[in-house]
Each structure stands twice: as structure tokens, then as C-alpha cells.
Amino acid sequence: MVALATFLQRELRLLARQKADWLNPVLFFVIVLSLFPLGIGPEPNLLRIIAPGVIWIAALLSVLLAAERLFKDDYRNGVLEQLVATRQALWPFVFAKLISNWLSTGLPLVLLSPLVALLLNVDSASFLAMLLTLLLGTPLLSLLSVLGAALTVSADKGGILLALLILPLYIPLLIFASAAMEAAAMALPYYGQLAIMLAMLLVALALVPFAVNSALKINVS
């Protein structure tokens, strides 16, 4: 527990010192969202229809963008290798990375959602759904992108590889999150979709740390 607190403090400190790491993905999110109306026309009704999908696709891509550098520094300067050698200190490290990743990429998206709703003409009912899906979905995004980052830490070519690995795993989330928002737009109940997202989040929360742990071990071996 002490280790987790210290490690989390370290991650947050690093985020505070390397602002580009988390600001760029957030900026990317906003820019992609503002490109869509320019690309397909500013028709309010059209925007309302495509909003759920567009928001979630932008969220997926921006989280992916942030994942790339997640473990790189710690791999390069040997922190990762020496943590793996301690075995037990690797767990709090993984959790600290997960939490700080969500705080730096997921949470800003949630906080930005009112602005996004304005940009894309989302009405208040769908806005609530959007907020809820982002709250439930972004932690899952973080889990999967940390997994992807852990798998590719020592890879020679990162970048597009990470997208190839992780985007297929995002698909269920994309489907249910945008379905929930569509249902909300049609004033239908969407608790089912939220419940499924919650279930996926819990399952991922139980399994992903193990996978991240062994991925890191393999990568430094």
C-alpha cells in the first residue's frame, strides 16, 4: 500500500513534468472532434446522429496515442528491469500506471464531455448517457491500452503495431458505448448497455493486471 502511494505520487509527478504526454492526446481528441463537422457538414441533425460513434472513436484513438510512451522511459533507463527483479514491487507499479493513465487520459475526456456535447449538438438526455459511458468506458480503455503498451515495451517498432493489437479489443466497448448513447437519444432505457460495460470493466480489472505483469516480465527477459 505504501509502495502504491509512492509509485502513484511518482507517476503524477512525472505527468506534471512532462505535460505534453497527456496534453497532446487531449488536444488530439478535441481536434478530431472538430474536424468531423468540417468534413461531413454542419447539419445539426446529422451531427446528432453521428455524435456517439464519433466521440467514442476519437476517445479510442487519443487513448491509444497516450499509451505509446507509457513504459518507454522506465524501460530505457532500466527501472522496469530492476523492478521485475524485485518481483513483488511490480504489482504496485502496474496499478500506479493504470491509475495514472486513467487520470491523465480518461478523466480529461470525461471533463471535456460538456464541451464536446456543445460542439456536436448533443441533447441533454444523450449527454447524460455520454457522461456515464465515458465514466465507465475510459477505465476499460486505460486497462487495454496499458496492456498494449506493456506488450510492446521492448518492440523495435511501436506505433502502428500498438493500434493493430489494441483496436480489435476495443470493439465491444465501442459497440456498447455508442449503443447506449443512441438509445438515450431515442429516449429508450440504456441501463442494459451500461451494465454490460460495467461487467466488462470488472472482468478486465480482474484479468488485465496479470497480463500486464507477465507482459512486462517477458519484455525485460
Binding site: 493489437l165 480489435p168 479489443l169 517477458i218
Partner: protein
């Protein structure tokens, strides 16, 4: 408990076993494929609804079934590789992945070619086609990941890990795509009527499925042999063999 499996974990034994099985498996696969396909193409009556276009079934269905079969084989190998650190299992993951990817691509292409006359369009976001497409992405992910490391061993292990993660995800993906498909049921899509298949059509289909399966085994033998050679090239037995040739 796994004592009797232990000699199988020895690369040299596996290499020789695969070498002995390969010609038989390949011959059997080719004969079965010829038999099943010629029978299916020429000696069965046409479907009363779809006419002769249904004959694509004799490659589409075997490829689709075995694309998933290959994934489960790959996932089992990956699991064994990770839990028991069996190197041969690691290499078989990499040996199977391209086979699975080719089968999946075949299933997709033939599905499209079948869809065009039946649905009037090359591609529909049908649940099965979409799942198959994602399966192809997963295969490509495993292949790309395994090649991305300067250390071959690391690549094989990480790819195994991804294969296991993928197999946990596959049911979720499949379920969500199916659900998404019913939600967005398009107007123009008419689903296949699934009549109970006539025995005269069933036999060639079963033979073709078997042919694809045996062909997969033959290809695994061939590719695993190469993988063993590459990864064991410093061993005396490999060097002795290469010196003989």
C-alpha cells in the same frame, strides 16, 4: 500426470515426428480436397433457392470453421507455452498464426463472393462476416507482434500472451457484434434461409471440412519444422543434419 507428454516437448522428437507425418498428411489433404470439391462442384444438385452459387459453401464453410479451429489450437498452444514454458508450444503459436490468417482471409473472400449474388453487395456488416474480419485482425496482430522484437524468443512469448488475451476476448467480441447486428438490422439484408441440408450435399461438405483440417495439420508440421530449425540452429543435432546435406 504429463509424464507421457514430456518427450513431445523435446524439439528434436517433434521435428522428426512432424517430418514423418508431413508427406502423409499433405497427400491425404490434397486427395480429400479434390474429392470433396469435385463432388461438391459437379455431382450434387443445385440448391433450390440459390442455384449453383451455393457451391461456394464447399470452401467457405470449411475455411470459416477451421479459421476458428486454428485460433483455438493456437490459443491452447499459447497457454501451454506460457504456463509450462514449453518452447515447442511457443513456436507452434507462430507456426499456426499465418495458417489461421490465410483461412480467415479465404472465409472472408469467399463470403464476399457468395454475398454478391445473394445479397446484391460484396460486403454487408453481417455479424458473422464482421466477427471473421476481427478474427483476421487478431491473427495479424499476433503475426505482427511476433516479428516486432529483435529477440525472437521475446517475440514468441509476447505473441503467445496476446493469443491468450485474444481468446478471452473472442466470445465477448462475437457476442457484441451479434448483438450490434440485430440492433442495426439493415433493410436490404435478407438473411439466409437455413434449410436442413440434404445428405447428398452434406457428404462432400464434410469431406471438404476434413480436408481443410488435415491440410492445416500438414502445414503446421511443415512450419513447425522450420521454426524448430531456426530456433535450435545452435544445437548439435541441427548442425549435424545441416552438415550432412
Amino acid at each position: 500426470m504429463f509424464k507421457w507428454l514430456h518427450p513431445l516437448a523435446k524439439p528434436e522428437t517433434v521435428y522428426q515426428l512432424c517430418g514423418r507425418l508431413y508427406p502423409w498428411l499433405l497427400t491425404a489433404a490434397l486427395l480429400l480436397l479434390l474429392l470433396g470439391n469435385i463432388w461438391g462442384l459437379a455431382f450434387t444438385p443445385p440448391d433450390y433457392q440459390q442455384g449453383d452459387s451455393y457451391r461456394i459453401i464447399h470452401i467457405h464453410v470449411p475455411a470459416a470453421i477451421m479459421s476458428m479451429g486454428a485460433y483455438s489450437a493456437m490459443a491452447i498452444a499459447a497457454f501451454v507455452a506460457l504456463v509450462w514454458q514449453v518452447k515447442v508450444a511457443q513456436w507452434s503459436v507462430l507456426a499456426i498464426a499465418p495458417i489461421g490468417a490465410v483461412y480467415t482471409a479465404i472465409a472472408l473472400i469467399t463470403g464476399m463472393a457468395w454475398g454478391k449474388p445473394m445479397w446484391g453487395t460484396w460486403w454487408v456488416w453481417d455479424a458473422r462476416l464482421t466477427s471473421e474480419l476481427i478474427l483476421l485482425f487478431l491473427y495479424l496482430g499476433v503475426i505482427a507482434l511476433s516479428g516486432a522484437f529483435s529477440d525472437r524468443q521475446t517475440g514468441a512469448k509476447v505473441a503467445s500472451l496476446l493469443a491468450v488475451v485474444g481468446v478471452i476476448n473472442l466470445p465477448v467480441i462475437h457476442f457484441s457484434v451479434e448483438w450490434w447486428n440485430t440492433l442495426h438490422q439493415g433493410a436490404s439484408i435478407t438473411k439466409f434461409a437455413k434449410p436442413s441440408i440434404d445428405p447428398s450435399m452434406l457428404w462432400p461438405l464434410l469431406i471438404s471440412i476434413l480436408a481443410f483440417k488435415v491440410l492445416m495439420l500438414a502445414l503446421i508440421c511443415l512450419r513447425l519444422r522450420t521454426a524448430i530449425l531456426v530456433n535450435e540452429q545452435h544445437r548439435p543435432w541441427v548442425r549435424a543434419m545441416a552438415g550432412d546435406q
